[in-house]
């Protein structure tokens, strides 16, 4: 056994500073993050009979209902957007990632209470692993979206290569929100309910159900582009589905119109990092 190796040279004394968001070395951080995300993913999808199918059923069911409502009942979608069904599906899949990751992250630190109170490890791993687990789902869902995209006759284009950029922005935003929510929930249990409502509001404030030009009102369009998610979604649409659709810049009424969204994006990221860093050392005590 390893303990039987001869005495080795004494390691130098190093000061320890208590728990933190990242402490403990980057290799350990990424090993732990990867392992936790993968095991959680496996637990969910190998623990149930239908496994991965469940994570598809939800967005697809929502897709089916909304598609019916907005093409047969209200007809706003089908009249404006060229590929409304795929646009709807892409939007739902993107938003499902954001919503699922952030909602799971809210309670993640508290759920892992036993581990947090009894072991030392980089605290950031917890909310990040829930985001990553959702990202795995998201990746699989994107494959399904790709199938629909091709089936609906959208031609592959060079601009598809820009889609990962939209995903990257979405990922960063989701992570920042998750970090902030997960530590706030430790102190204020109301956060869970507030977030549920707020995420629902965000869903309508993001052009998922409707193509943005269907609003037919420039002021509302500009207003919508204050929402960073709306900007990301709009750009994804332009890059993947309809090169002719109004870009985020168009919808915002010029590059300057995107400033508020950019400011909010940066602010949320900074706030996420700041709150998490501030709270991380005390999580074990506050739980």
């Amino acid at each position: 056994m390893s303990a039987s190796t001869p005495p080795k040279e004494a390691a130098p004394l190093r000061e320890v500073h208590g728990p933190s968001a990242l402490g403990g070395g980057s290799r350990r951080f990424f090993d732990l993050l990867w392992l936790l995300s993968v095991t959680e993913f496996k637990r969910v999808y190998f623990g149930t009979v239908l496994g991965y199918v469940w994570s598809l059923v939800r967005p697809l069911a929502l897709f089916g209902v909304l598609l019916f409502v907005f093409t047969k009942v209200f007809k706003i979608g089908s009249e404006t957007a060229e590929h409304y069904p795929v646009l709807l599906l892409l939007g739902i899949v993107l938003f499902t990632f954001f919503q699922e990751a952030s909602t799971n992250a809210v309670t993640s630190v508290v759920t892992q209470e036993g581990v947090v109170r009894k072991t030392q490890f980089p605290r950031l791993v917890i909310p990040l692993s829930t985001v990553l687990t959702s990202a795995f789902n998201f990746g699989l869902n994107l494959i399904v979206v790709l199938g629909f995209v091709l089936a609906f006759g959208v031609m592959p284009a060079w601009s598809w290569l820009l889609f990962p950029l939209a995903v990257a922005f979405l990922f960063v935003f989701t992570t920042a929100v998750s970090m902030m929510l997960s530590v706030l929930y430790v102190r204020f249990r109301d956060v869970a309910i507030i977030w549920l409502v707020f995420a629902q509001m965000l869903f309508y404030a993001t052009p998922v159900l409707y193509p943005i030009e269907a609003l037919g009102n420039k002021t509302i369009e500009h207003l919508l582009m204050v929402n960073p998610l709306a900007v990301i979604f709009q750009q994804a649409r332009v890059w993947v589905l309809e090169p002719d659709a109004p870009t985020a810049v168009d919808a915002a009424g010029g590059a300057l119109g995107l400033l508020p969204a950019a400011a909010i994006f940066v602010a949320v990221c900074a706030l996420g990092v700041f709150t998490f860093n501030r709270e991380a050392p005390r999580i074990a005590e506050d739980l």
């Binding site: 000061e15 208590g18 070395g25």
Partner: protein, 410 residues
């Protein structure tokens, strides 16, 4: 396990703690919702500070088995969590040489929905190893834990004994330089315990430093080179485990043991004023250590002229077994003959204490000399507790010498 050998002189320091302070803010009115904070932003911020650790400094040398003992709430768990980087200190520094196994309890990182194989890797990574290193060590871990047949069984189907064995095996194999262990030595069956003892010996040989937190003084005396007693966030004593053990017991039984003393009992001839157990300084105590003399004091008031009294004591244990009795025969001393009404008699007895640890009762009988008959009988006049000493069968544990010799060829 062999008797502890002190670490080699001049060994380097493995853990260094300087002037450590930690206090917790205990909200008098816990704010759990935003609404409360909004409605009463100021009134709800009443806190009181609980000083869990108040200026603790000590050093542990490399290769040392170091015991930390203390009563519940003494601050020893806080200290352990600070060492493990679970809490952040308010003031002071902690320095640690090498890698520390950051587990306060065995098996905390375990996910019960995963198999032993997956958990071993996960747990190892938490302790700072790579997944590959853990996979390489898997076989050794499973073998040590004697769980070969259950590698792919989910942990939720494990018995608690199996879980602890697995956790212990992971910790042993994690190859940390400093281990923090909280009350885990008494796990598993006899053969597994032997294995643990062997593993500890190997770790000692390999220069590992072990910090052991426990309530069990026997473990401390058996394994530790040095020990530290904490009380109310301060170090009470640091040094020889046996001495620490005695201090700990004393601390534990402080103010405990005394039962209800009977109301001042009264007979026709005498009245009991007081019946107490005394410490060496004469102050009343309720418990004493094994080997510490039993000092009894009885005060009586004589109500009518008497030719004499004799006083007897009987010590019985909690099971009702009479252990021994003693007394003062009549006329032996002046306090027992020709007494006049209104006089006060004080009886003092100092008895060598052979009693094994446990609860005891002293019954007193006061007899009329010459006239015959009992003047006063006091059931459970004094109740006290004896602590310390070796665990023994039977009710007494006298001081003794024992030796075995042999003659003839080997």
């Amino acid at each position: 396990m062999n008797l502890p050998t002190p670490p080699r002189a001049g060994a380097s320091t493995a853990v260094q703690v300087e002037d450590l302070h930690k206090s917790f803010r205990i909200p008098i009115h816990r704010v759990d919702s935003l609404k409360e904070r909004v409605v009463r932003p100021f009134t709800s911020r009443d806190y009181r500070d609980l000083h869990a650790l108040d200026g603790v400094s000590f050093e542990i040398e490399q290769g040392e088995f170091f015991g930390i003992v203390g009563r519940n709430g003494s601050g020893k768990s806080t200290l352990l969590k600070l060492l493990a980087s679970i809490y952040r200190a308010d003031r002071g520094t902690i320095r640690i040489a090498g890698r520390l196994a950051p587990f306060i309890e065995l098996g905390v990182g375990f996910n019960h929905d995963l198999t032993a194989r997956e958990n071993v890797v996960l747990n190892g990574v938490m302790m700072g190893l790579t997944p590959k290193e853990m996979r390489d060590r898997l076989d050794a871990i499973i073998a040590f834990a004697e769980l070969e047949e259950f590698v792919d069984l989910k942990l939720k189907n494990y018995s608690s004994g199996m879980l602890v064995r697995l956790a212990f095996a992971v910790m042993m194999e994690a190859d940390a330089d400093v281990l923090l262990i909280d009350e885990v030595l008494a796990v598993g069956d006899a053969s597994f315990q032997q294995k643990c003892a062997d593993a500890f010996r190997q770790m000692k040989a390999a220069g590992k430093t072990i910090v052991l937190v426990t309530h069990d003084m026997k473990t401390v005396e058996e394994y530790c080179h040095r020990a530290m007693l904490i009380s109310e966030g301060r170090i009470q004593r640091l040094g020889d485990p046996a001495a620490i053990g005695r201090d700990y017991l004393r601390l534990n039984f402080e103010g405990e043991g005394g039962g209800e003393t009977p109301e001042a009992a009264e007979g026709e001839e005498v009245r009991l004023l007081e019946a107490v157990l005394e410490g060496p300084d004469g102050a009343p105590v309720t418990n004493l250590e094994h080997d510490e003399e039993i000092r009894l004091r009885l005060e009586l008031e004589v109500k009518r002229d008497l030719p004499g009294l004799d006083v007897g004591f009987l010590i019985a244990n909690a099971d009702g077994v009479d252990v021994f009795n003693f007394g003062i025969p009549v006329g032996e001393t002046e306090g027992t003959r020709e007494l006049l009404a209104g006089q006060r008699v004080t009886v003092r007895a100092v008895v060598q204490n052979p009693l094994a640890a446990g609860r005891y009762f002293v019954h007193c009988g006061i007899n009329r000399a010459f006239e015959g008959g009992i003047a006063l009988y006091l059931q459970n006049a004094i109740e006290f507790l004896v602590f310390g000493g070796q665990q023994t069968r039977g009710v007494v544990h006298p001081e003794l010498r024992i030796d075995a010799t042999v003659e003839g060829e080997r």
